[in-house]
Subunit: 302 residues, 2 copies
Amino acid sequence: MKAVSEHETVSEHVAAFRRFNRYFTRRIGALDDHYLGQNRPLGEARLLFEIGDGASLRELRARLGLDAGYLSRMAKALEAQGMVRLSVHPDDNRLRRIELTPAGRVEVKEQNRRADALVASLLDGLTPAQRARLTEAMSTTERLLRLAAITVEHVDGASPDARATLAAYAAELDERFPEGFDAADLVRPEEVSGDSGAFFVAYEAERPVGCGGLRRLGPGVGEIKHVWVDPDARRLGLARRILTALEREAIERGFDVVRLDTHAVLTEAQTMYRAAGYTEIPAYAEHVYAGHWFEKRLRGAR
Amino acid sequence: MKAVSEHETVSEHVAAFRRFNRYFTRRIGALDDHYLGQNRPLGEARLLFEIGDGASLRELRARLGLDAGYLSRMAKALEAQGMVRLSVHPDDNRLRRIELTPAGRVEVKEQNRRADALVASLLDGLTPAQRARLTEAMSTTERLLRLAAITVEHVDGASPDARATLAAYAAELDERFPEGFDAADLVRPEEVSGDSGAFFVAYEAERPVGCGGLRRLGPGVGEIKHVWVDPDARRLGLARRILTALEREAIERGFDVVRLDTHAVLTEAQTMYRAAGYTEIPAYAEHVYAGHWFEKRLRGAR
DNA sequence: GGGGTCCTTTGACTAAAGTCAAAGGAATAT
DNA sequence: ATATTCCTTTGACTTTAGTCAAAGGACCCC
């Protein structure tokens, strides 16, 4: 009974999603592409648009998912038209840097103007209140879609992605803590690997955008460390998902309770932990940066 | 001051719209297209999908915006693959009817299954509450975008579109009124044309999806007649827009007040009129179908 | 300083997408 | 009944988009 109704709701959401997708890509997406290109193949228009304030071909290849040969030729064509300038990349002679010429900049501006005008004319039919509701609904849709597309994966604590996210985490704390933060105070990779613990990295389209670690604190007790989300991926509910992954891992490892500490200035984090069922407890260890300690019981109700 | 802040908000909405558009078409739309086609050029896949329970080539040409020659060839290719059957259209020997064969039906079903699975796997990352919020936000977005894309145009009361919408209106009333509705009781075209009145038709992508008329009732008094919205376009706020257009017209024609009557069973309409500033008044004329009478003062406050 | 890796260019193709115009049969308007 | 309009087919193209592999110069790691 339960299963049936659950299934029905999921397929309802799937149907709604597909209906929206069809409507949006047919009516709006198509419009945009069509008007954007105007006198130019879409591929070139997109490339031109994506260059921004200069980029390497390698970057563009990754961002637009293009074949190397194909991109090389398009770049050459745009250069011949006087839209871009190609040069060897200052940092690495293998790479080529591509930049807009003044003429290219004019064309991009013109593309933007046209697209803006198109959207403005569309919004024209709505009242200000409706426009506000539309913007709100779009941003909710986008946030949830992004969240859905992010995966949280178990990785080795010493892997490059783990180290990269921890470095970003440390850099941010160093900014935010009045006393600064020393990267030497991060957990050691072996504390969150193998039998000792676990480390998770969140990926959005292959890019690491968040992390969190779990280590053993004592018998039946785990500690959650370094839960962090990239500024670009905040307000999506990602920290909550990382936390859920860590708790699931803790349960599998037989911990009955998990603890964590947090700095006094990280008020959003404290709010999040409370909402996730954590309760504040007295200090369970001395940490240089800690100001608040929390705990959550994972099994054996209360 | 006012104008500046107004302008700023509009451009904010434009920016938000474009950001959403970019995100959605790049990430989601692309996914969909890529997985849909699988072993088949996208054009063919789209065509196959669009056939549904059979259609004429002409219809498909309009819906997909294809060149006649291109479509003809694709149809022939699909026929050679045993996916569709082509035949002369029963109603008009110039047209060709295209239908799916059993094999074609299987493939469309398979396309659908794949797309559903893709979406389901995407939604998998969300909690049920988040899924519900996503569906809600998408449907709001879609409703408002549809509303924004609809235009309300002044047409002659005797034009084919005016007659078509009025016929649909009459047919619906005939269903809904316990006593039925006789199309002979509609306004005559000349009452809502030229100096006597005005008629508006709402178009969504060239298709008439709503209407409303205004006629002169007496000195300074106009009457709003036959405001109707196609079932496919309801719950978008379209009736309200038609009403606004009629009131603007009434003001231009120098009417101080507009009246209207409505049948007792049309409770949604009554709610809408009240929300739009209409107040119920005693019967101002005898009408066979009327059960409630409303009025709105357009100028000379109270 | 030598092998492996990385990035780009070039040649050589292929497939898909789309355009244009001529032509012929079928409806429609007058 | 005749001119006009419609819808589709066909031939003859062009442009985009994309793929694959070979090759060469630059970097990186011992």
